[in-house]
Amino acid sequence: MIVVGSVALFAEKLDWFKVGGRSTLKMDPSTERERG
C-alpha cells in the first residue's frame, strides 16, 4: 500500500518496527538525493 500525504514523513520520525533489531525503512535513493 502507499500512504500519500505529509504524515508519510512519520515513517522516518517514528521508525519503531524493527526486524532483527534493524529498521525496515528505506529512503528512496532519488528522493534522498533531492532532499540533500
Binding site: M1, I2, V3, G5, A11, L14, D15, F17
Partner: protein, 139 residues
Amino acid sequence: MVFGRGAEKAEFLRGKDINFEIVPGVSAAFAGPTAAGIPVTHRLLSSSVLVVAGHGSSDGTEQAKVDWKKNDRAADTLAILMGAGIFREIASHLIRGGLNADTPVAAISWATTAKQSTILSTLGTLSCKSRTPRIRPPA
C-alpha cells in the same frame, strides 16, 4: 468490512444458507501505516483519511473504476491499497489531479511481518518510470 470482498463472500454464504462468523479486526489500511510508524491522521497535519482501492475488480465481473479526480483532494491523507503494480500510474494520476510532486509517499509492503518494508519517497519519484522503487505485494 473493507475490501477483500468480505461483504460479497458473506452475501454468498448467506444466500446458500451456510453459517459463518465475521471476526472484527483492524483494517490493513490502518494497521499497515501504524506498523510503519505513520499516523494516518494527526492533529496538526491531517484531519481526514481516504481509503482507496488502487484498482477495481480484476475478475471482469464488474469494474469499479477509481475516480482519481474525485479522490486526490478528498482527504488530507490517502491510504491506497491493492495497487502494487500500478503505483507509478497512480502517482501520475494524483499529480495530474493537482497534488504536488513533492508530496511525501510511504510505500509499505508485508506490514507487521519479518519481511516488512517501508520506502519513503515522493509522488514525483513514484511517477517517474525509471526511478520507481520496486514494491512487491502484499502492499
